[in-house]
Every structure is written in structure tokens, then in C-alpha cells.
């Protein structure tokens, strides 16, 4: 290569590097609306305005939310056009964080899905704005909070601000709530009948029944392939927690209960908890508990259930495991050795704090608040949650009953309700109070059936008057709680499984209690207690 060639290639190469180094002039297009200068907004609007909202939806649903009938009707009603940026749930969190980090803020985020921690963090970074002053523009939300004032405390952050609009779905109130007991125990009635046994009412009787299931071949195939009792340990609705009530205060998935005097208690440090574990260990030693109960996943659990191999098992709704037939029946809370009969309540409730936030880029706060308020209209809320009526392009969840002016559930005709709900509903902020059933809408069939069971079988034995509500903790408290829970709960869950399978709970109990203290139990109780007191 000659000299000129060398120099030339050098210039060319460095030139090309410089070209790529040059940037276009930055055109930071923001995704928020201009200031329309609207005051005293009333719908339908005469002006032609649009809001820009970021949202997420199911992959089953239409890509453009404006294709959903609910939003089309809403646009007609309000005159507000909504420009969506919609992502499916699996990429939404990344896209949302990218929009925030790159400063391309929308006017608002629907189905924002922030955790409490993120919510407080975004508020601190001025990404989202407090909305408590906007509630004055929101008559529907005001009405909801008037009827159900307990939610106001849960919406409010420890600093006194409200940062997000919540999702409220009540199915039954108080003890009768559908969440009261998550892990329903289902017992095989067919096997009981075949062996001529009564439905057990005490823990001792249950043991005898399970032994009979194991030894007397109730399914009549000549093989001892029956599984007297199965569960998935530490897996919410599949955990045997609902049996713990026979020995004391009962148990739930977050090991937190509140006594009737308003004291927060860790179930896993209670004397009754020890006895429950001891009893389960006894059953395990007799070979009455599925040996896979400690490691199986949902699919394995389901497969054995479909084959009807269980004498007794735990889940939210038997329809998911053994079908809706008559062969399995809900077992009422058992009497313990000293005659105690109780079932522990879960802390579950249909409340999600952060369903919609307004960002600091929003210049039309009143308009946005009034638009969001439309979502809290009773009939609108019901449709947003479950789906709508009168769509001639696809199946409908509801029909509109003109005479009673309420929504009525239609029969599903084979479609999975989930699929239909995800296609037609929009989620978002909404409120469905228990008082709406019968006036605004009918109850969904599956929920009505379970609520009925809850009321008849479980509620009469429920001792606890209080549950631990969704307390909004401060960032500092959340930091401490998550640091403690990471060790504390892992240890409790490990020990629980270990003791049921290998025994030793009596011997190790004191050691276990001091280990709980070492992992920060007292501090945890303190934070939880002050949170509870603040929420009253």
C-alpha cells in the first residue's frame, strides 16, 4: 500500500466514525397533552380534546383499547378522546419504567401496577402527583368513600397524600367475604358413603376416616393407590392452613392475624400452631399425607385430582381440581382435642392500591380527574371489572335489564370466563361494593356459589373479628419489613414443612422461638402493630 493510500484510508475511516458520532437534533417528543385550559368541566365535552394514557392489557385483548366497546361508549359519554399506549402485561413494567426514565411521561397511567414502594418512590421523584385535592371533582368516588370509609385510610400514604386511585372489589362483607378462607378443605363424599363413614367433625375422627381411605380401598380397584390427604405446603389456597383453627387462632398465608382486642399476632409463634404441626406430623407418620405434598407443583396436584385419587385436598374452588360434581364436599371446621372449633381468616381483600396514577406532566388535572371519576360510576365499574353487554361482535358477559336498570350475568356457554373477561373488560380503577349486588348487577355464579358455602359452612365457626388490612407503610417501614420478612418467613416456611415431614416440633420449639426473635420478630410486630393502629 502506498503512502497516499494509507493516508486516504485513515481519513476515510476516521471520517466515517465522525459521521456516526453526529446526532440528529434532539426531538424529545413528549407523550402528554397540551393545556386545554378547561375549568368547570362537564361531560359530554363540546371541545375536541384528547388525553394520552399509558396502559397494559392481556395479550388476549385487542391491541388498541379503543377497539373495546367499553371505551367506545365512554368516549361517546364524555367526549374525551383517549390516545393509548398499550402494552401486554409481560413487557409493561419495562416499558413503563422506560417511559419514566426517559421523561416521556403520559398524562396518566392506567393499570399502573406500582408496588407501595414504587408508588412512594415515584411520588418522591415527582413523577406522579398527589390526587387528594382532585377528589372534590369526583362525585362517584366520593360516594364510594362515603359508603365504605375504611378504604380512605388504605388509600392514604403515611405522609397524608393520596397518590393513586384504587381498585375495590367486594364479594361479601366482613366475615362473609369471599377471601375469608382461601384454602377450602374438600373431602371425598363418595368414598365416605362407600365405606359407610360419617363426615368427620373432630380431628380424631378425621384421622380415622383417612386411615379407612388408605386401607379399605374406597375406589374399589384392588390397589392401595388412594391418597388420603394431599396439599401443596406454603402455597396459599393449596396449603392445609384451614385445619389449624382446631388448635387455636388458626393460620393463613402471611402468618399474620389480629386478635379481637386489636393485637397483631404472628400465627407461627403460637402454641396452637405447634400442636397443629404435631398433629399433621402424626398423620404423615401414619402415611396419610401425600409424600409429594412438599414439592409438587400445581400441574402434578391437578393431575392426581383429575384422577380422583384424593380422599381430601385443599384448594380455592373444587371446580379447578376435581370438577363441580357431587363427589367432593366442603369439610366444616373440625373440633380439636379440647373441643375448640375455629377457622382462621386470611387477610385477603379485593383491594389494589395503585390502579391509576396521574403524572406530573399532566396539564389538565380537573379534566383527567373527572374522566377517572367516570370509572367509579357503579354500573361502569362492574363492566370495567368483568366485561360488558350488547356487543354484537363477540360473546357478552352481561345483558342490560331495562326494567330493573341493572346488569345481569348471561350463561357462559362453554367459553372460559377468564378468556372472555380479559378480552372485554378493562380493569383499572373501580369500585364494586357489596351493596351493588342485586341493585346494580347480579353476582357472578362462581362467586355466589362460593360465598354461599362460606356463609353456611365456615362463617359460624370463625372467631376472629378483625383482619390485618392493607396498611400503607412508609418507605423506611417497607425497607425494614421486607428485610425482616426475607429471612423470617423463609425460616418459618422451611421449618413448617420440615416438622410435618420429619417431626421434632416439640423438641425444637423453644430454639425456634428464640431464632424468630433473632430474625427480628419483635421489630416486625412493632411495625405491623403501629401500622394497624394508624389504620383504625
Amino acid at each position: 500500500m502506498n503512502k497516499i493510500g494509507k493516508t486516504l484510508s485513515f481519513i476515510l475511516l476516521s471520517g466515517s466514525l465522525m459521521v456516526t458520532g453526529c446526532t440528529n437534533k434532539s426531538s424529545s417528543e413528549s407523550f402528554s397533552s397540551e393545556d386545554y385550559e378547561l375549568t368547570n368541566v362537564s361531560f359530554p365535552l363540546k371541545e375536541n380534546v384528547s388525553l394520552k394514557i399509558l396502559t397494559s392489557s392481556s395479550p388476549l385483548a385487542a391491541e388498541d383499547p379503543n377497539d373495546k366497546l367499553i371505551f367506545q361508549r365512554l368516549e361517546e359519554k364524555t367526549g374525551v378522546q383517549v390516545e393509548w399506549r398499550n402494552y401486554t402485561g409481560d413487557v409493561f413494567a419495562e416499558k413503563r419504567n422506560l417511559a419514566i426514565a426517559s421523561g416521556e411521561l403520559p398524562d396518566a397511567i392506567l393499570n399502573s401496577g406500582f408496588s407501595d414502594y414504587e408508588l412512594l418512590k415515584q411520588a418522591k421523584d415527582d413523577v406522579i402527583v398527589p390526587v387528594e385535592d382532585l377528589i372534590q371533582y369526583m362525585p362517584n368516588l366520593q360516594a364510594v368513600l362515603e359508603k365504605a370509609p375504611q378504604y380512605k385510610a388504605m388509600m392514604t400514604a403515611p405522609d397524608g397524600h393520596i397518590y393513586a386511585f384504587p381498585w375495590i372489589e367486594e364479594l361479601g362483607e366482613g366475615k362473609e367475604s369471599i377471601h375469608s378462607v382461601a384454602a377450602f378443605p374438600w373431602i371425598n363424599k363418595e368414598w365416605l358413603n362407600k365405606l359407610g363413614l360419617e363426615v368427620p367433625t373432630t380431628t380424631d375422627e378425621l384421622k380415622k376416616v383417612l386411615i379407612a381411605f388408605k386401607t379399605q380401598d374406597p375406589n374399589g380397584n384392588g390397589e392401595a393407590d388412594e391418597i388420603p390427604m394431599s396439599f401443596i405446603i406454603n402455597d396459599g389456597g393449596q396449603d392445609p392452613q384451614s385445619l389449624f383453627g382446631a388448635f387455636g387462632i388458626g393460620d393463613n398465608s402471611d402468618f399474620t392475624v389480629v386478635s379481637n382486642d386489636g393485637e397483631v399476632i404472628l400465627t407461627a409463634a403460637d402454641e396452637g400452631y405447634k400442636e397443629s404441626i404435631n398433629w399433621l406430623n402424626d398423620l404423615y407418620n401414619e402415611g396419610l399425607i401425600d409424600i409429594e405434598a412438599f414439592e409438587q407443583d400445581w400441574n402434578t396436584y391437578l393431575a392426581k385430582g383429575r384422577d380422583k385419587r384424593y380422599g381430601m385436598y385443599f384448594t380455592w374452588d373444587k371446580g379447578n381440581i376435581t370438577g363441580m360434581g357431587e363427589d367432593y364436599d366442603l369439610l366444616a371446621p373440625l373440633k380439636g382435642p379440647d373441643g375448640h372449633q375455629n377457622v382462621g381468616r386470611t387477610n385477603g381483600m379485593g383491594f389494589d392500591r395503585s390502579r391509576m396514577v396521574i403524572t406530573s406532566a399532566n396539564k389538565n388535572l380537573e379534566l383527567t380527574a373527572k374522566w377517572i371519576d367516570q370509572l367509579y360510576d357503579p354500573a361502569q365499574s362492574v363492566q370495567n371489572n368483568w366485561g360488558t353487554f350488547g356487543d354484537d361482535k363477540q360473546q357478552n358477559i352481561f345483558e342490560w335489564d331495562e326494567s330493573a336498570s341493572m346488569l345481569k350475568h348471561l350463561p357462559l356457554e362453554g367459553t372460559a370466563p377468564v378468556e372472555l373477561r380479559e378480552k372485554t373488560s378493562i380493569g383499572g380503577p373501580l369500585a364494586i361494593l357489596d351493596s351493588y349486588y342485586g341493585t346494580v348487577t347480579t353476582k357472578p355464579d362462581d362467586a355466589a356459589w362460593r360465598l354461599d358455602l362460606m356463609k353456611k359452612v365456615m362463617v359460624p365457626y370463625m372467631e376472629a373479628d378483625n383482619i390485618y388490612p392493607r396498611v400503607f407503610f412508609s418507605i423506611e417501614d417497607l425497607d425494614r419489613l421486607s428485610a425482616i420478612e426475607a429471612d423470617l418467613f423463609a425460616y418459618i416456611k422451611r421449618k413448617r414443612a420440615e416438622w410435618i415431614a420429619n417431626g421434632g416440633v416439640e423438641k425444637e420449639w423453644n430454639e425456634y422461638l428464640s431464632e424468630l426473635d433473632r430474625l427480628g420478630l419483635q421489630e416486625w410486630l412493632e411495625i405491623k402493630q403501629s401500622g394497624y393502629d394508624r389504620n383504625q
Binding site: 395479550p59 409481560d90 393431575a303 362462581d446
Partner: protein, 295 residues
């Protein structure tokens, strides 16, 4: 005529041990592959209940039927092929050109260029600044956001450069004496000699692009542009189930059933192109990966 040299006892022992070890390794690799392949034809419930029982009643093409009739999966498959092929062409082109230039003796500032490239191997701009650049170049939501940003792969350039350096200078000199220009030398002499490295780089690039989803997730908004991996991800992961929401408890069961059904068949479909490509590339592959060890 048998002119084999008689093997000594030691040779034979080594050979036997070698064979045994190799068959163990091959089994270890083959068994999971076979398991996935066979599972993809089985009814998911039967698979959980009985494992790989090969009775005819359990066979089912349901998983494949769902995949082939699902428009999004097939579109994702096509997108993936386009992205991977496009990315391969661009990346290999860039790597070969840059690698050759940097291998030429006496290039002014060679060291500086090399350092310039090497820095990018260790330091990146970070996600958000990179996103800004891509956005301001107007590439968001286009195929270019997938193909261009990763096109300069320094590792590929180094591989290519090492390979070119091994080509004797005399070849180029001879060509020059015959009156060939630099460009001519590259096209007529060098390129035919470097097929192995081209194929190796192509395979690396193709596989890398085929399996990636992150860039697509960040830069693409339009679901019609999603590559296969992103489509599969949305089907298999879906929304996290939040405890306590009635609809979600049912959703979880439905989703688990569907994802179980298509899990294995989607793995087979997603790895098919690579499995088909591999035998064709293999003869170059053996030669090519040795490149680094020559120096």
C-alpha cells in the same frame, strides 16, 4: 490389503475409555433433547400423570395445532427469520470489512482504532442513553432498531482480524504484481479464502439474534413486529397472578393449562431453524472456531 498398524495395548485402552466417555457425554446431551421432542407430541395431562408412556392414546398434535393456527406465533416466526437473516448479513459484512482493514499491515492509526473498538467491549452507554439515541435516529418501532445497534460486534471483528492475519502476505503481493487493486484483492483473493470465518460468524450472529428478545422488548411497540421469542414469552409468562383476585385464581389455572400444552412444541418449533442450519455449517464450523487458537 490390510496395512493397518497394529495398535498397542495402551492405544486400545485409551480408545475404549475415550469411546465410553464420549458416549456418556452424548447421552447426557441427547436424552433431554429427545425428552422434549417426544413430550411435544404428548397430551400434557398424560405426560404429568404417567411420564413418557408411549401408548398410542396419549399422542396428540394439539400443541402443534395451536401453534400453527395461532397467527401471532407464525408472524413472530417470520419476523424472527427476517431479523436474524438481516442482522446476520449486516453484522458479518461489517465484521469482515473492519476485520480485514485492521489486519492490513501499515494502516495508519491501527492501534487507535483497535482501542476505540475495544473500549465498547467493556463500557456501554447504558439502557436509557442508548434508547435516546435510537429514538432520535427515528428507529423506534422499525426493523432497524433490531438490526443496526448490535451490528458492530467487536468480538466478531477480532475473530475476523485474527483469521485474516493468518493469510500469507505473499498472496496479496502476488496479486498486486498482477495489477490488482486493494478492493480487487479483497474480493478475489481474500473472500474466497475466508469462507470458514464467514460461516462461523454468520452462525454466531444468527443464533444470537434468534434467541434474543430484550432489544425487541425495549424498541418495538407494535405487536406485529414482535419476534418469536417475545411472542412466546408473552404466552408463557403472561401476567403474574396476584393472590386474592377472583378472576386471577381462575386465570392461573387456564394459563397453566395452555402454557403446559404448548411448552414443548414451542421449544421444538423455536429451535427448528437452528437444527436445520447446523449440518450445513458444520464443516466450516470446525475449521472456523480453531481460528483463535492459531495465533
Amino acid at each position: 490389503m490390510n496395512s493397518k498398524i497394529k495398535q498397542t495395548k495402551g492405544d486400545r485402552t485409551i480408545l475404549i475409555i475415550n469411546n465410553i466417555m464420549l458416549s456418556v457425554i452424548v447421552t447426557c446431551i441427547l436424552v433431554p433433547l429427545l425428552y422434549v421432542f417426544l413430550s411435544s407430541f404428548l397430551e400434557p395431562n398424560a405426560l404429568i400423570r404417567k411420564g413418557l408412556a408411549l401408548s398410542a392414546t396419549d399422542w396428540s398434535l394439539e400443541g402443534y395445532r395451536r401453534i400453527l393456527t395461532d397467527g401471532t406465533i407464525m408472524r413472530g416466526f417470520l419476523n424472527s427469520i427476517i431479523y436474524s437473516a438481516g442482522f446476520t448479513i449486516v453484522t458479518v459484512g461489517v465484521s469482515i470489512l473492519a476485520g480485514y482493514t485492521l489486519s492490513v499491515d501499515g494502516l495508519v492509526g491501527k492501534k487507535i482504532f483497535m482501542i476505540f473498538f475495544l473500549i465498547t467491549m467493556f463500557f456501554g452507554g447504558g439502557l436509557i442513553p442508548t434508547y435516546f439515541v435510537i429514538r432520535d435516529l427515528g428507529m423506534i418501532n422499525t426493523i432497524w432498531a433490531i438490526i443496526i445497534p448490535g451490528a458492530v460486534n467487536v468480538w466478531f471483528i477480532i475473530l475476523a482480524r485474527t483469521y485474516f492475519k493468518a493469510i500469507p502476505n505473499e498472496l496479496k503481493e502476488a496479486a498486486r504484481i498482477d495489477g490488482a487493486s486493494d478492493f480487487r484483492i479483497f474480493i478475489s483473493i481474500i473472500l474466497p479464502l475466508c469462507k470458514p470465518i464467514i460461516f462461523v460468524l454468520a452462525l454466531y450472529a444468527f443464533i444470537g439474534q434468534w434467541n434474543s428478545y430484550f432489544d425487541a422488548m425495549i424498541y418495538l411497540d407494535n405487536r406485529d413486529l414482535y419476534p418469536l421469542q417475545l411472542v412466546l414469552r408473552s404466552i408463557l409468562i403472561q401476567n403474574e397472578v396476584q393472590p386474592g383476585m377472583i378472576a386471577d385464581i381462575q386465570a392461573r389455572n387456564e394459563i397453566l393449562r395452555i402454557s403446559e400444552m404448548i411448552r414443548y412444541s414451542s421449544i421444538v418449533v423455536a429451535s427448528l431453524p437452528l437444527l436445520i442450519m447446523y449440518p450445513f455449517f458444520q464443516k466450516y464450523f470446525e475449521k472456523g472456531v480453531m481460528v483463535g487458537s492459531l495465533k
